[in-house]
Amino acid sequence: MAAVDIPIAGGNAHDDAHGDPNLPYTRAKTGWKSWAYTLDHKRIAWLYLTAVSIAFLAGGMFALLLRIELFTRGKTIIDAETYNRFFTLHGAIMVFLFIIPSIPGSFGNFFIPIMIGAKDVAFPRLNMLSFYIYVVGATFALVSIVVGAVDTGWTFYTPYSLHTANAVIAMVFGVFVLGFSSILTGLNFLVTVHTMRAPGMTWARLPLFVWGMYATALIQVLATPVLAITLLLLIFERFFGAGIFDPALGGDPVLFQHFFWFYSHPAVYIMIVPGMAIVSELITSGTRRQIFGKLAVAASSIGLAILGFLVWGHHMFTAGMSEFSTMLFSALTFLVAIPSGVKVFNWTATMYRGSISFQTWSLYAMAFIFLFSIGGLTGLFCGILSVDIHLHDTYFIVAHFHYVMMGGTVMGFLGGLFYWWPKMTGRLYNETLGRISWGLVFVGFNVTFMSQFIMGSRGMPRRYYDYLPQFEPFHKASTIGSWILASGLFLTAYILISALINGKKSPPNPWGASTLEWQTESPPVLTNFRTTPIITRDPYDFHLATPAEVWEGFPEDFPGGNHPLARPATGAAGTAGDTHAKADVKKPSTEEKTADKKSTAKKDDE
């Protein structure tokens, strides 16, 4: 079979709206409108990446201010009410505006279609809509927190949250709108993965990043509606006096916690599974090996997605649930350790007899294994009922979930940034500075949160504005750690932005990776591939990849000179990434450029 073009609903409209399909997507069309109204999944990914980076910066600034306040006992820089608002803002921004949309919105959008050999996601317009819904929801949520002076923590527990009930309803409404963005993105990914895989891209050959995003999308679509139910109940209570959560009206505050965590616990897996998905890519490219037990790694993502729905009660072991429910949730919680363990063991085993890279992104993958192991193992303490009684609501919990969320997801996100930056921008970053920034982030992170483990198990409760003298050294260490961490993150931002401005030009496959996104130009052309690739091997089968596929340099320098992406000055250029199928002869790009768009869609379909 020759290269075929997959018919995409609205695909032609998409081309029309976005200009020349043979130019890099960054140059296919210009002007601000080409970004603001874009239907191209790669540009939407950039919009998301920009938005979540701003959210990360904002949430991070609040974190730094909180840490400075805790540097000394008593008042350091802000008063208690401001402190309470800041930790609410830190939590809400990081969870709802940063981590949940971060990886699916940016890398998911950019790489799912490319990794399965498609031109775009299934519903490009829906994709753009979900970004704008995110912007509306984010704005709404932030304004209601700031104007309503919400100081409830990101969990909005009743009845405390009822004293700012209108602001909480507005805030939950904002989160609900954000949820729609999540649902639409998730739905889009599910349909894309089901219907738009290139010929030969069987489910078994699906890259692990796509598997992880698929699992995430399932959770997004299934869990987010519960948030809507919670909101409706809050509104009933507020405006019609139905006693649901408010004990003054005969309601049950613990019920709110059930509803909240029924969404927010699956949301934890919306946060971590994408991080794991990226790490699976980094590990395979960093070792140049097929992942050990690929089926188990893919299945464990789905396993986590399902288990994520069954363990919300472990946030409430001290909240006054019955002993029976407590027992059940503890037992189910332990099951989470199995798929998590399988992933960590398989990643580590993949390194055995590999060819291991020490490039920044590969270091991030190792940092992920290191930090996530700590995050996962400390989860055991929290799952054990009697031990959790002591640890619940202390800094031990704070450290635990930061090790998972930040040590896991954010390390995956940063690793993904370094790994895919040359692909997304066509520019190489400074590797030496990259490694230095990694070192700062890794050391800073551990100093910040390791001290929180110790003060937590020694009895320091969370969300405290001030503390007893015995906790001072731990708080001091933690604050100093936060400065190291922040300097690493600012350096990261500098490295990536300066690469974008004046970095060296990147070859198509600077890391010698074997997945599909590296078999097209950097940055990819508007339609991702010049012709639809045909998949003949697993994405991580390095030993089956042709020398051209894993060639790290520029195509023009490829020995023998027959690299499929090479573009000799005279013309027969513009070949695509279907190198798995031994590169068909491609029409020159100039000819494609002038060809009628509709016939382009059919011309290879013979």
Binding site: T152, P253, T287, R289, G293, S330, M351, L377, D466
Partner: protein
């Protein structure tokens, strides 16, 4: 000193439940250390041994089903052990011995009130060594949590329901009971101006002193609590214990709330312009429903929590008796 605790991760154990929890904590800790060192050790070893070298190709990944099954199934046994061990301990923590003495705990923003079986109450918690004490707890306003790190005990206090927890202290000493469920804070006055740090109140400051003492000392404390003291003396101590002292001065200086000096019998102007004579009924109402009648110039609704349920009629009598001693001149 615990031999298994070279890292000082847990505070001094002072209750019977601490033994179980500490053992399980350190068991899990050392188990985690083994797993962590295994995983990270292997990772670092592989990373260095198989570091990328020019011309050296990686070996294609093989299959090893027994290995994969082992690390999928083996952890299950460990997990079942941990679950069972923890659940057993949790049940022991949940079910109080029948002979436990009950102490009624009431939490409010931001303080604790402990009522002993004699009916007397205090803001300091006294516990005898070597005897089970059961705390029957409720909250007047929002969620709080009863947490004494040295006892390894914690339980949420939920408005609208009773929760309970029990402890048996093993050695005398003084520790701190602290709130572990976020319950807000206050650092500004009614005009939005920032108060001095000493007047900040909130979740972090919702602490109570816990005195763990011998049986004799405990009995002596119980005898001295309330008892036969004259009402104005009891009123004076309630003034401190119930935190009235935080906002109401007794020397005539202006605080967050009206001073008590010369308050009884005085005619005050309320926020709606009406005049009212401060008498027994007004004081009683103001303690139970602080926002019902607010004196002109003070925050409305009142920042004062209601003391309904934590201050009894006899306590109010005592407070009024104390107020009567604070004459204007």
């Amino acid at each position: 000193m615990n031999l298994f605790d070279p890292t000082f991760q847990l505070p001094e154990p002072m209750s019977t439940s601490a033994g179980h929890i500490d053992e399980l904590f350190y068991f899990t800790y050392w188990l985690s250390v083994v797993f962590f060192v295994g995983i990270v050790g292997a990772m670092v070893y592989f990373a260095w041994t198989y570091r990328r070298r020019p011309g050296v190709k990686p070996e294609p990944t093989g299959h090893n089903l027994p290995l994969e099954l082992t690390w999928t199934v083996a952890p299950i046994f460990v997990l079942v052990l941990l679950f069972h061990w923890g659940f057993k301990g949790y049940m022991d923590l949940s079910i109080a011995p029948v002979n436990a003495e009950e102490v009624r705990v009431r939490a409010f923003q931001w303080g604790w009130d402990f009522e002993y079986k004699s009916g007397e109450s205090d803001s300091v918690l006294h516990i005898p060594v070597g005897r089970p004490i059961k705390f029957v707890m409720s909250s007047n306003d929002v969620l709080h949590a009863f947490y004494i790190p040295e006892f390894r005990t914690k339980r949420d206090l939920v408005p609208g329901m009773y929760t309970s927890v029990w402890v048996q202290a093993t050695e005398p000493g003084e520790v701190v009971l602290t709130c572990a469920e976020y319950c807000g804070g206050k650092s500004k006055d009614q005009n939005g101006a920032e108060l001095p740090f000493e007047q900040f109140k909130g979740h972090w400051a919702m602490q109570a002193k816990v005195v763990v003492e011998s049986e004799e000392a405990y009995q002596k404390y119980q005898d001295g609590l309330g008892g036969n003291k004259p009402p104005e003396v009891r009123g004076r101590s309630l003034y401190e214990k119930k935190q009235c002292i935080t906002c109401h001065t007794t020397d005539g200086s202006k605080g967050i709330a009206p001073t008590w000096k010369g308050l009884y019998g005085k005619t005050e102007t309320l926020s709606d312009g009406k005049q009212i004579k401060v008498d027994e009924n007004y004081i009683r109402e103001s303690i139970y429903e602080p926002s019902a009648k607010i004196v002109q110039g003070y925050a409305s609704p009142s920042v004062m929590p209601t003391f309904k349920g934590t201050v009894k009629d006899t306590d109010i009598d005592a407070i009024i008796a104390y107020m009567k001693t604070l004459k204007a001149q």
